[in-house]
Amino acid sequence: MNGGKKGSFGKRGAFGAPVEKAKDFKGTWKKLIAYSKTYLPGIAAALIAASLGAALTIMGPDYLKQMTDEIVKGLPALVGGQPFAAGIDFGAIAGIARLLILLYLVAAVLNFTEHFIMATISAKISQKMRTGISEKINKLPLKYFDTTSYGDILSRMTNDVDTVGQTLNQSLDTLARSVTMFVGSLIMMVYNSWVLALTAVATTLIGFLLMAITMKHSKKYFSQQQDGLGDINGYIEEIYTGHAIVKAYNAGTKSKVAFENINAGLYDSGWKSQFMSGLMRPLMEFVGNFGYVAVCVVGAALAMNGTITFGVIVAFMIYIRFFTQPLSQLAQSLQQLQRTAAAGERVFEFFDAAEMEDESHKPKLLSNVKGHVQFKEISFSYDSKKPVIRNFSATIGAGQKIAIVGPTGAGKTTIVNLLMRFYDTNTGQILIDGIPIQNVPRENVHEQFGMVLQDTWLFEGTIKDNIIYCQVGVSDEEVIAACQATGIHPFIKSLPEGYDTVLDDKTNLSVGQKQLLTIARAMIQNSPLLILDEATSSVDTRTEKLVQSAMDKLTQGRTSFVIAHRLSTIKNADLILVMEKGNIIETGNHHELLAQNGFYAELYNSQFS
C-alpha cells in the first residue's frame, strides 16, 4: 500500500529513473530561496502546517488503540473458569470517536491549507520566472544568441520552469510531512511497545535494502532507455523530414535496417527498465506486508503474554504503514529536489548571463538628425581572434546610398550590427551627425533607423497592428497612405477583413507581400536613416517589381545602407562596400571598382556569362 502521489506515477518512474543532477545543488537552492524571498513566510507556514497535520495523523492510531481496548473489554474472558464479558462503555467509545473525528478534520484542514499554499506559491514562482526570462531576452546582447539556440531558451521558459513549479509543489511539503511522519510514528511505536517497534524497524530495513539494490541495478537500463528513445525519435524525425530524398534515392531499405537496429535495442533496454521500475511497487507492497505479518505475529505473542493489549496491534498495523510510506516518499522528494535544482540551475544560468551595459544615464543627443554618417578607423571582431573589420573609415553625406555586396556568408550584416549598435566596435567610432553613437543610449540610435530585413518578421496580430507595431499616435490614414505608397493597399483591400485581417500561420502571404508590409512599417517610422536587406529569390516577378519601387521610394531623402542583390541598386550607389570572408576588401563606386578589376569586377561579370 504505497499511497504516495498518484500524479507522479505515469511520468518518469518515481524510482530508479535517472535524475538530472544539478552541477551545483546547494548554490542553486540558495539562489532559488533568494529568488522566492517574498514567498518564504508562506512556504514556512505551509511547512509548519504540513508537520502539524502529519503529527495529528500519527496521533490517530493511538486513539484507535484506546477504542479497540474499550471494545476488547466486551469480549468474553475466562473469569474463574467461566466465560464472562463485561459491558462495553459506549460513553468512553463515543468520547474517543468524537476526539478522533476532530483530529481527522483538523488534520484535513491543515493538509488542505498547506497544499493550497504550496500550489499557489509554486504557480506564482513559475510565473515570475517566465516573466523574468521574457524580460531578460531583451536585455541580453545579440552576441549571446550567437551561441545559444532559440529552442534552448524556449525550453528553459517552458520545460525547466514547469519542472521547477511542479517539483516545488510536490517536494518541500512532502519532505516536511514525511520527516514528521517518520519520526513521529517511530516515537509512537517505541512509546507503545519497544519490542514491536524494533520488529517494525528491522523488517522495514530489510525491505529497503532490497529496494536499494534493485534501484541501483535499474539505473543503467533507465539511462539506456532514455538514450534509446532519444536516438529513435531523432532518427524518425530525420528520415520523415527527408522523406522525399530518402524516396528519390531508394534509401528506404537502408534506413529501415538502421531503424530496426535502434528499435531492437530500445526493446531490450525498454522492457528491462520498465520491469525494474515495475519491481518497486510489489517490493513496496511486500515491505508493507512483511511488516504487517511481523507485527501480527510478534504482537500476538506479546498480547498472549499480556505484555501489550490487543489495541496496540491494531495501532501498529497502521503505524507500520505510516512508517514505511514516508521512507519511499522521502526518497522521492529528495529526487524531486534534485530535479528542481537541475531545472532551476538552467533558469538561473540564463538569468545570470551578462547583460548589456545600462545606458539610462547617457543623454539622448540624437534628434533632428540630417543623416551624415562617419566611420572613423573602426576595427571589429566577433570573437576577438579573427578581425572582421580593420581600420575602416568612410564618410557618408546625408541622403547618400551605400551598397554592401559580397557572396553569401561574407559578413554583410556586420555593418548593420555595428550601425545599430547590436555589437560595439572594438576600436574607432561611428558618428551620426558628428555624435559618436557610443555616447548615446542604444534606443536613441535605434530611433534614427528604419530597418527592412530579408527575413521578414511579422507577428500574430492584425495587418494594421503589424504595420503600426509599437509606434504611438499613428492614424489609420497614415497606415493606408504607407500601404498605398508601397502598393500593397489594393491587396489588403481585397481581403474580407481588410486592415483588420489577423495574420497567423494560416494566412497565406507571399514572401513579397510580407516584405511590402515590413516596408510599410518602416515608412510609418519615418526615420532619417535606413537599413535595407534586399530579397534574393522566391519572389515572383510582379511582386518583385512592387518591392523594388517601394524600396526606391523608401530610400528617397534618407541615408540608406543597402545589402544589395540588384544591379540597379549597386550601380547607382554612392559608395559600394565589397565584402568577402568577413572583410571589407574593396570600396568605391561602381565605375571605380570595375576599373580596379578586382573581386568586385569578377563578381559582377560572373552574373552574366
Binding site: I71, G74, Y292, A300, C470
Partner: protein
C-alpha cells in the same frame, strides 16, 4: 483503443493470459493475509491458545506475502515484455508504412504529425498497456473479490464501505468535470507563451530596432497571466484530493470500529469473538477495496489520452499509399534518358484548382531543359511528377519511353538524381551523404562528385575530410555548402536524368555558373532538368519552357523567347539590364 490490440501477437496474448493467472493468484494471496490475521486475532483473544499456532499462522502469512510478491514480479515481467514488444512492433509498422507513403499522404498528415504519431503516441500507448496489464486487470478482480469476502460479514460495515467508495467516485467525477477542460487548455496556453516568446526571439533585431522591447514583454505578460491563472485553478482544485482521501480512509476505519462496538455488544457471548476478529479483518479489506477503486479511477484518467494516441496511430496504419508499384525495370531500348509529357494535367488531391494544365513536351537524351516562371506557376510540381511523388490527374508521363506508372518505383528512381530546393542532409559523414541510398549499380568516386559540385575545396579543409561528421539536418555546414553537397549527391549516383529543383538559388552567381559549367563535362550523357528563378542560371539551356499559372506559355531558346514570349521578357527585364539582355 481496442482496435489497436489486433497488433498483439499470439505469443503476447498467451503471455497476457498467463499473467492473468498470476494476477488472480496474487489477489487470492493478498486476500488470504487478513484471513490469517483473523485467525491470529482469534488465537490471542481465546484464552489458553498455543503460541505455536500463532507462529504457524504467521509463517503462512509470510509465505503468502512472499508468493504474492513473486507473482507480481512475474506479472511485471510479462507486462513489460508485452509493452516493449508491442511498442517496438508499432514503431516498426509505422516507420515502414510512412516509408511507403507518397508525397500525397505525407502532405495530408504533415510531417510533424507523422513524427508525433510515431514517437509520443506510441510511448503513450505502451505506457498505458504496461500499466493496464498490471493494474486495470488486477483492481476490478481485487475489488470484486474483496467485496464478496466481506459482504456476508456485516451489513452495516458494507454500507460504510459503499458510502466511502461512492464519495470517492463522486469527488473524482466532480474534479474531472471541472478540471479536465482546464487541463486540456493548459497545452494551448503553454503553446501560446512559447509562440509569443519565439516571436520575440526570431524578431530580435526588429524588436530592438523599433525599441519595441516593452511592447513584446507586455504580450508575454498577458500570455503568462492567462497560463498562471489556469495553473492556479487546476493546482488548487487538485489540492482537495489528498486530504479528502486520507480523511475518508481514516474515517472509514473509525466508523467500522465504532459500529463494531455496538455489534459486539448486541451479540451473545459466544458470537462476540467472531465479530471482533471480523471487524479487524474488515477494516483491512475495506482499505483494499478503496485502493482498488482509486487505481481504477487512475486508469480512467489515463485512458482518454492513450485512446486518442491509439486512434491516431491507427489512422496511419489504415492508410494505403495512393501510388502503387509497377513491374517494369528497364527503359525501352534506345529511349534512355528521354522524358515525355503527354497532355498532363495535375490537381492536388485536396486542391480545387488544377496546378498544371495540358502540359506537353519532350526532352531527348543529354539535353538540358529549363523551367522558369513566377512562384505558383507549377514548376516544382511538374518535375515531381517525373519522380512520381504524385500521379497525374490526366495524361501520361514517360521516362525512357515507359509510362512512369508502369515502372517498379525503385527502378525509375535509380535513373534519377534529384536536388531539391532545400538541401536535405542526414546525420553521418560526408562520404555517406554523397554516396547516399541505393543505385543498383554503384557510384562515381566521391571526390569526383564533390569536385563537380565545387564542394571538394571546403570538404578537404575540414579536419577529417570526407569522413567529417554531419549533424542532423547538416546544421554544422553553411547553407551554400549544404546545397553543394546535395548536388554532389545527385551527381554521385551517375543518373540518366538530373533534376535541379531551384537548387541553384542558394548559391552565389559565381558558384552557380561554375557548377553548371562542370556539369557540362562531368554529366554530358545525362538529361538535365533545371527549375530556376534566375534567368542567368538558364540562359544557355537547349530548351527553356516558360510556365505561367500552370500552363506552358512559351518554349524555345533564350533568344527565341526574348523575341516571342511576353512573360519571359517581363522576367528578363526585371533581372537584367538592356545591354546584358543582348
Amino acid at each position: 483503443m481496442i482496435k489497436i490490440l489486433k497488433y498483439l501477437t499470439l505469443r503476447e496474448w498467451l503471455m497476457s493470459f498467463i499473467s492473468l493467472g498470476f494476477i488472480v493468484a496474487q489477489v487470492w494471496l493478498d486476500l488470504r493475509l487478513p484471513d490469517y490475521m483473523s485467525e491470529i486475532t482469534r488465537l490471542t483473544q481465546t484464552p489458553g491458545s498455543a503460541m505455536r499456532d500463532v507462529w504457524i499462522n504467521g509463517g503462512f502469512m509470510l509465505l503468502c506475502a512472499l508468493s504474492s510478491v513473486v507473482a507480481s514480479v512475474i506479472v511485471g515481467y510479462f507486462a513489460s515484455r508485452i509493452g516493449a514488444g508491442f511498442s517496438q512492433r508499432l514503431r516498426s509498422l509505422l516507420f515502414n508504412k510512412v516509408e511507403s507513403f507518397s508525397m500525397e499522404e505525407i502532405s495530408r498528415f504533415s510531417t510533424s504529425s507523422l513524427i508525433t504519431r510515431s514517437t509520443n503516441d506510441v510511448t503513450h500507448v505502451q505506457m498505458f498497456i504496461t500499466l493496464a496489464l498490471q493494474i486495470a486487470i488486477k483492481s476490478p478482480i481485487m475489488a470484486v473479490w474483496a467485496i464478496t469476502k466481506i459482504a456476508g460479514k456485516g451489513m452495516e460495515w458494507s454500507m460504510v464501505t459503499t458510502v466511502a467508495v461512492l464519495a470517492i467516485i463522486l469527488l473524482v467525477s466532480v474534479l474531472l468535470v471541472f478540471v479536465m477542460p482546464k487541463f486540456k487548455m493548459m497545452q494551448a496556453l503553454t503553446d501560446n507563451i512559447t509562440r509569443v516568446t519565439r516571436e520575440n526571439l526570431l524578431g530580435l533585431r526588429v524588436v530592438r530596432a523599433y525599441n519595441a522591447e516593452g511592447y513584446q514583454e507586455e504580450k508575454t505578460l498577458a500570455a503568462n497571466d492567462e497560463l498562471t491563472q489556469t495553473q492556479l485553478y487546476t493546482n488548487r482544485a487538485l489540492v482537495v484530493l489528498m486530504p479528502f482521501m486520507q480523511t475518508l480512509m481514516s474515517g472509514m476505519s473509525l466508523a467500522i470500529y465504532w459500529i463494531g462496538a455496538y455489534l459486539i455488544d448486541a451479540a451473545d457471548l459466544t458470537g462476540r469473538l467472531e465479530i471482533f476478529s471480523n471487524m479487524v479483518v474488515f477494516s483491512q479489506y475495506s482499505v483494499m477495496v478503496i485502493m482498488s477503486f482509486m487505481m481504477l479511477i487512475f486508469i480512467f484518467v489515463l485512458m482518454p489520452r492513450a485512446s486518442v494516441a491509439a486512434s491516431r496511430i491507427h489512422e496511419i496504419l489504415d492508410t494505403e499509399p495512393m501510388i502503387t508499384d509497377g513491374g517494369v525495370t528497364e527503359s525501352l531500348d534506345g529511349h534512355d534518358g528521354e522524358i515525355c509529357f503527354k497532355s498532363v494535367s495535375f490537381k492536388y488531391p485536396k486542391g480545387s484548382e488544377a496546378v498544371l494544365h495540358q502540359i506537353d513536351f519532350e526532352v531527348k537524351k543529354g539535353e538540358t531543359v529549363a523551367f522558369i516562371g513566377s512562384t505558383g506557376s507549377g514548376k516544382s510540381t511538374l518535375v515531381q511528377l517525373i519522380l512520381r511523388f504524385f500521379d497525374t490527374s490526366s495524361g501520361q508521363v514517360f521516362v525512357g519511353g515507359v509510362n512512369v506508372k508502369d515502372y517498379k518505383l525503385s527502378s525509375l528512381l535509380a535513373k534519377i538524381g534529384y536536388v531539391p530546393q532545400q538541401a536535405v542532409l542526414f546525420k553521418g559523414n560526408i562520404r555517406d551523404n554523397i554516396c547516399f541510398g541505393d543505385t543498383g549499380r554503384g557510384y562515381v568516386p566521391v571526390e569526383t562528385a564533390a569536385q563537380t559540385a565545387l564542394a571538394d575545396e571546403f570538404i578537404e579543409r575540414l579536419e577529417y575530410g570526407y569522413d567529417s561528421p554531419l549533424s542532423q539536418g547538416g546544421t554544422n555546414v553553411s547553407g551554400g555548402q549544404k546545397q553543394r553537397l546535395s548536388i554532389a549527391r545527385a551527381i554521385a549516383r551517375q543518373p540518366e536524368i538530373l533534376i535541379f529543383d531551384d537548387s541553384f538559388s542558394a548559391l552565389d552567381y559565381k558558384t552557380d555558373r561554375l557548377v553548371r559549367h562542370n556539369l557540362r563535362t562531368a554529366a554530358k550523357e545525362a538529361t538535365v532538368i533545371i527549375v530556376a528563378q534566375r534567368i542567368g542560371t538558364i540562359m544557355d539551356a537547349d530548351q527553356i519552357i516558360v510556365l505561367d499559372e500552370g500552363r506552358i506559355v512559351g518554349t524555345g531558346t533564350h533568344l527565341e523567347l526574348l523575341a516571342s514570349c511576353s512573360v519571359y521578357q517581363e522576367i528578363a527585364k526585371s533581372q537584367l539590364s538592356e545591354e546584358e539582355l543582348r
